[in-house]
């Protein structure tokens, strides 16, 4: 059985609604990977320059990023030569393999969260404005709560109008406590309070919201460093995860975001949001490759349970789905 068939089987086998949701989110403008690649294959009987050029274009339009695309296509070309593949239908397996290779590198099981058993786990959320940090926290709080954990939220976005209220609504929905101060107060102080409260109330997971900030604002990035320092000081080993929230609609700037936020807060994972639209967020492949930051979750909607653990195969599958048909245009 070919790689692609195996992938399909794997996807169909996965029982619950998770896969459905993922597919739903990823194929709203549905055209399956099979269809897409078959389309490509049908038009190009032979694996030639034109074939690769079009493949390049599909990937570029998924925001994968030019350098990564070139590298991938180069490797593909070599592989095709090595295996003496001439028929374009055989190449599709190799495409998937290579993409998975590039992303995974040496390690696997990258989406696992570093959660402490029987002790407080602190997760810090960072990112630019409007990517969906607060919403993601709401969803994750619900998820942990469902798992029977005691969850607390820290309203660290003291800057944006309405941010604290927004987190409180999510806290209500998920049924978890929110620690807050007034708008305009020092976010580091909010964190300090929240950490104390989490400790004294035997909380399992503390999710820390922060204000959105563009990565080129020096002062705001320094503020974020301070927030992290406070957490480090109060709870040894914390924050156990620093999650960068990325909007899937973002283009090449996401790489700079990842770089700068990693420098300031040592990001351990990415939450890729708004993947239920038509954007693919392909830049996460380049980010994983260059900065070694894996995707941990994907956001697929505005409902409470619209947050899923990242599944590489499903994601790659989705990369090719629903891409504009007239790629040759």
């Amino acid at each position: 059985m070919g790689f692609f068939d195996k992938l399909k089987e794997k996807l169909t086998k996965q029982t619950d609604t998770v896969t459905e949701k993922f597919k739903d989110g990823l194929t709203k403008t549905r055209q399956s990977f099979a269809g897409k690649v078959n389309d490509l294959v049908a038009r190009y009987r032979k694996v030639d320059e034109d074939f690769f050029e079009e493949l390049e274009e599909i990937l570029i339009q998924a925001d994968v990023g030019f350098d990564t695309v070139l590298e991938l296509v180069d490797e593909l070309k070599m592989e095709v030569k090595k295996r003496k593949i001439q028929d374009s239908s055989e190449v599709k397996e190799v495409i998937m393999e290579k993409l998975v290779d590039i992303y995974e590198g040496e390690s696997d099981d990258l989406s696992q969260l570093n959660v402490q058993e029987n002790d407080l786990t602190v997760i810090l959320f960072v990112g630019v404005n409007g990517v969906g940090k607060t919403t993601t926290i709401g969803k994750l709080a619900y998820k942990f709560k469902q798992e029977g954990k005691k969850v607390m939220l820290a309203a660290g976005d003291t800057f944006r109008a309405g941010a604290i209220e927004q987190l409180e609504v999510w806290g209500d929905r998920a049924g978890v406590e929110v620690i807050k101060q007034s708008e305009g107060s020092d976010p580091a102080a909010v964190m300090f309070d929240a950490l104390q409260a989490a400790r004294s109330r035997n909380v399992d997971v503390l999710l820390c919201d922060t204000a959105g900030r563009l990565q080129n604002k020096v002062n705001l990035m320094k503020e974020l460093e301070k927030v992290k320092r406070v957490i480090e000081r109060e709870v040894p080993g914390a924050p156990h995860e620093v999650l960068l929230v990325l909007d899937a609609t973002t283009g090449q700037n996401a790489m700079i975001q990842a770089k700068q936020f990693k420098e300031a807060t040592d990001v351990t994972g990415i939450v890729l949001t708004k993947l239920d639209g038509t954007a693919k967020g392909g830049i996460v492949i380049a980010i994983r490759k260059e900065l070694n930051i894996p995707v941990k979750f994907v956001g697929l909607g505005e409902k409470m349970d619209d947050l899923q653990e990242f599944n590489l195969e499903q994601y790659v599958y989705g990369l090719f789905a629903g891409l504009n048909e007239e790629a040759e245009g």
Binding site: D63, G162, L214, K217, T250, Q252, N253, G277, T278
Partner: protein, 448 residues
């Protein structure tokens, strides 16, 4: 990272061509490949890039470039001209309804910055056009969205119309307009909920709001960092609602903003405003030519010059230049200059506008913190008149006193004095260079 501007990219291509004496068609093709790359790195949509390249190639091959002695520069010129043209003219005018109030609807994806932009736009309407806008909170979905608009309304002292989140946006919008008429508001800004362009139910909702209130403007708010998908979003919103203009937000980040080009290409609607920060006055007119430079990574000289003109006292500048040339600059002059530069806006913004600044060693990663300038100011202001005129007399005990006076560590005082000394030396070298060189040097800022 391969994010250098088009100018640099073409430079290296040109080096290969140089010495051949003649530019061939294949050379042009190679240059076009660099243009293509530059645009893709800037997130311009692939299809838009393709049709653009086709157009530029035609012009380039059609003699204009090939006959030129400086083909590289010629290519840049052609590219920039075409880009600017494609992006349309400056059109920041807002419609005025024949019978008030004028109704503006703000639409877009989640997190693009609609609510913030609504506040900014209201602020601009009042400040620049002396209008009396009413803000309408029609985002009933996102938790606390209404609250956010109300808070912004309070900040800029502007009324916000809300019926809570249990009433349909259509009803909210309709009632808001009645209210606006009764209270003699001449503008109504409707903040709608963010939604995906493929969410049929929510898009239908916008359509029915549109049908009911008959807006004079529908502004699509788009995040400047948007990638390839910008075309799908813009196309879909435009097709379903018929947008009349675009507001590009978060351009104070370091994105090239190629989405601007994509959106313009698919909707053919003007980009009217750009958002440059979280403050309520950070909304500016869109300048196509500057955006073209930015997309190509070529710096924005025009804005820089404009800012300098608006904020630097010319006479003082000339005086300073003279002092620089004779190296008789004092710390007082330095302070004066500092405050003038500060008036021009955040320093890192200024640096970004300088062509080639991203290439200059040390400058590309330079992060200038405006607070540091405040510190420098505090230190200099803690010196006596004598010290400022003759920094050489500042000994250890004076340094300690200055440090105490300014609330900064002694090391920082030392650093400043050293930098000032070096700057003076550098100026001497520069004036010497200028004397030898042909050009009469212009006014340069010492720490740039």
């Amino acid at each position: 990272m391969a994010f250098e501007g088009l100018a640099d990219r073409l430079q290296s291509t040109m080096q290969k061509i140089r010495g051949k004496g003649k530019v061939t068609e294949s050379d042009v093709k190679e240059m076009m490949r660099e243009v293509r790359l530059a645009l893709l790195y800037a997130d311009v949509n692939l299809k838009v890039v393709k049709s653009f390249i086709k157009k530029v190639s035609e012009r380039a091959v059609g003699q204009e470039v090939m006959k030129s002695l400086t083909p590289g520069q010629q290519v840049i010129k052609v590219v920039k001209e075409e880009l600017t043209e494609l992006m349309g003219g400056e059109q920041s005018k807002i419609a005025v309804a024949s019978k008030p109030p004028t109704v503006i609807m703000m639409v877009g994806l989640q997190g693009a910055g609609k609510t913030t932009t609504t506040g900014k736009l209201a602020n601009l309407l009042r400040k620049k056009y002396n209008r009396k806008p009413l803000l309408v909170a029609a985002d009933i979905y996102r938790p606390a969205a209404i609250n956010q608009l109300q808070t912004l309304g309070k900040q800029i002292d502007m009324p916000v119309f809300s019926l809570g989140d249990k009433v349909s946006p259509v009803e909210i919008a309709t009632k808001a307009i009645e209210q606006a008429k009764a209270d003699h508001h001449d503008y109504v800004l409707i903040d709608t909920a963010g939604r995906l362009h493929i969410d049929e139910n929510l898009m239908d909702e916008l359509k029915s709001v549109k049908e009911n209130v008959k807006p004079d403007e529908i502004f699509l708010v788009v995040d400047a960092m948007t990638g390839q998908d910008a075309v799908n979003v813009a196309d879909s919103f435009n097709e379903q609602l018929g947008i009349t203009g675009v507001v590009l937000t978060k351009l104070d980040g370091d994105t090239r903003g190629g989405a601007a080009l994509s959106i313009r290409a698919v909707t053919n609607q003007p980009i009217k405003f750009i958002g440059l920060g979280e403050k309520m006055d950070a909304l500016e007119t869109f300048h196509p030519e500057r955006m073209a430079s930015r997309i190509l990574g070529m710096g924005d000289v025009l804005t820089l010059i404009e800012k300098a003109q608006a904020n630097v006292d010319e006479e003082k500048a000339r005086e300073l230049e003279k002092k620089m040339r004779t190296s008789s600059i004092t710390l007082d002059d330095f302070l004066e200059q500092l405050s003038q530069v500060k008036n021009m806006g955040p320093l890192d913004e200024l640096l970004k506008m300088m062509p080639g600044a991203n290439k200059m060693k040390g400058l590309n990663n330079l992060q200038i913190d405006d607070k540091q300038i405040a510190h420098v100011e505090a230190i200099i202001k803690s010196m006596t008149k004598k010290e400022k005129e003759d920094p050489d007399i500042i000994n250890a005990s004076r340094r300690r006193r200055i440090a105490k006076g300014s609330g900064r560590p002694v090391q920082e005082v030392n650093r400043l004095l050293k930098q000032f000394e070096e700057m003076k030396k550098m100026m001497k070298q520069m004036t010497n260079m200028q004397k030898k060189g042909k050009k009469k040097g212009g006014f340069k800022l010492p720490f740039m």
